[in-house]
């Protein structure tokens, strides 16, 4: 084991991997655990990684998988509170304002929390880690079509959760 090399890799990617894990788990402690386990696993199986340039993507996927698993094991920490995110849409004046406003709202976070952990994992890998569907698929050893359909379902769910309420739609229609 080349500890020097591992140490360099660890410090270089730690923050990004921790953030990936946090965005999936929504829990600081679980994210820390998932990050450690992911690096441990990665360094233990370093020889199986063919393209060393893919290290970051690879560890991100491992960390995301660990995060999902930790969430399943710690079911009490699942995001079970289902808040009515469509309750407060009365202030937006246009579709653009609506989405823009959402950027600053808790609602996006809550919508993400209402997804299943593996759905959230895919969203995080796609939009935070900016991995392509092909990359996610190859790192999960499933077909790109499978990832694409799962991602589509997750996005649809998010879109519905973030959809303006009927009142908001009426309001936007007038604008």
């Amino acid at each position: 084991m080349d500890m020097q090399h591992f140490e360099t890799l660890y410090h270089e990617h730690y923050k990004k991997i921790f953030r990936t894990a946090y965005l999936v788990t929504g829990d600081y402690q679980l994210a820390e655990d998932a990050t450690q386990e992911a690096f441990l696993k990665a360094f233990s199986r370093m020889e199986t990684l063919r393209d060393q340039d893919k290290f970051a993507s690879w560890v991100s996927v491992i960390a995301a998988n660990y995060s999902v698993d930790l969430l399943r094991k710690n079911k009490k920490l699942l995001f079970t509170e289902k808040t009515d995110i469509q309750a407060d849409h009365s202030q937006e004046s246009s579709p653009h304002d609506f989405w823009e406003k959402k950027e600053n709202l808790q609602e996006v976070r809550e919508a993400l929390q209402q997804l299943e952990p593996d759905e959230r994992m895919l969203i995080v890998l796609k939009y935070f880690n900016e991995l392509s569907i092909k990359e996610i698929a190859s790192l999960h050893t499933v077909s790109p079509g499978t990832i694409k359909s799962r991602l589509f379902r997750a996005r649809e769910k998010l879109r519905v959760l973030l959809q303006p309420s009927p009142d908001q739609k009426r309001h936007m229609g007038k604008a």
């Binding site: 591992f6 965005l23 450690q36 998988n65 976070r109």
Partner: protein, 356 residues
């Protein structure tokens, strides 16, 4: 409108994640590295010692099995040899074996010699060998003349002779002169017998009971009722039959002190496809690892949650096997890879912590 929504949503998510990650302060990587380095350094040595221990255990087990196999294979000859020996002892005026054992102790009064004696003479009965004869064992009251005869016989010469006579002279394929007899190649019968011996040895070592279930609810209740002390690793099971399948049967194999395996089987509604999950438990991570890594090397490596797994494709049956800390889980069925992964996602688990 929908297209625009989708595009906006992509942008919204990217912006959201960017803001979230910027607002988050990760812990120090220095502290994390110190901990990880220790774990990495400790990871190699236990694995190595585990392998060595396992190797020694395997050798010991193999020897016992071989001895037991020879005995089973030549039971008649062994019995005949023993009978001849008893006749010889009788005609030589020596006491029977039990008396000989006790008389020997009386003459030599050496516990070390006793142990050596027992180890050789009663090699098929290890329990006895490991139980030292009490020092205050009463003198059997044998004939003093016999004791005198016994005292004249050096135990170190007499005792091994018994073993040599039984083990080598009577066993085909073990002849000392290779010109007289060529060693036998293991036949299918021999292999089958070895396999049977394996099973018998396992059964002899610990009595295992297998509980079969034809009702899914009974199985679930029994699984959830397992004592936390039996659960050495997270147990995966289907709370509900996967879509398109109905419960067929389930088996829980266990002893009083350990859980050995859990199997849950389903069949498709038309009865043409099967799906089953089997989890085998081991006493140590090294044993589980050995069982896992002895599987087909041609398997495709996959990641199942945090676990290292393999995908096997054989004659329309796909099997995903993954290694946990002290168990190996196999999910097998006539399903596409993607469907298998989806089925995996429906699995639920029981752990020792959830039971306590």
């Amino acid at each position: 409108m929908k297209r625009r929504d989708a595009k906006d949503l992509d942008q919204l998510l990217k912006t959201f994640f960017q803001q979230e990650s910027e607002a988050l302060t990760p812990p120090s990587s220095m502290k994390g590295w110190a901990e990880l380095r220790t774990r990495l350094e400790n990871q190699e040595s236990p694995a190595l010692s585990g392998e060595l221990t396992k190797s020694l255990e395997e050798k010991e087990r193999s020897l016992i099995k071989r001895g037991y196999g020879l005995f089973r294979q030549h039971k008649a000859l062994t019995s005949l040899a023993a009978a001849c020996l008893l006749v010889a002892i009788y005609f030589a005026g020596l006491p029977p074996v039990d008396t000989l054992k006790q008389s020997f102790q009386g003459v030599t009064n050496s516990s070390e010699a006793d142990e050596a004696y027992f180890r050789v003479e009663t090699s098929g009965e290890r329990m006895e060998a490991e139980t030292p004869l009490p020092q205050d064992t009463p003198d059997p009251g044998g004939d003093p003349e016999q004791e005198v005869i016994l005292a004249d016989i050096p135990p170190t010469e007499e005792i091994p002779a018994l073993e040599v006579e039984v083990d080598t002279a009577e066993v085909p394929g073990e002849a000392k002169d290779p010109k007289e007899k060529t060693p036998e190649q293991p036949s299918e019968e021999t292999l089958a017998r070895d396999s049977q011996l394996d099973e018998e040895m396992d059964m002899a070592m610990e009595a295992t009971s297998s509980l079969g279930f034809s009702e899914h609810s009974d199985f679930i209740n029994s699984l959830k009722g397992l004592s936390a002390t039996l659960i050495v690793d997270e147990i995966w099971y289907f709370q509900e039959a996967p879509p398109g399948f109905v419960f067929a049967n389930a088996v829980i194999s266990r002893s009083d002190t350990a859980l050995h395996a859990v199997t849950q089987s389903f069949s498709s509604s038309d009865g043409e496809r099967r799906l089953s999950i089997n989890q085998s438990f081991f006493l140590s991570a090294a044993e589980a690892g050995a069982a896992y890594y002895s599987l087909d090397e041609l398997a495709v490596p996959v990641q199942v949650g945090p676990y290292e797994g393999s995908l096997f494709r054989q004659q329309g049956i796909n099997t995903i096997t993954w290694l946990q800390e002290k168990s190996v889980v196999s999910l097998s069925g006539q399903l596409e890879d993607g469907q298998l992964f989806e089925v995996i996602e429906a699995l639920e688990s029981i752990s020792a912590s959830s039971q306590s």
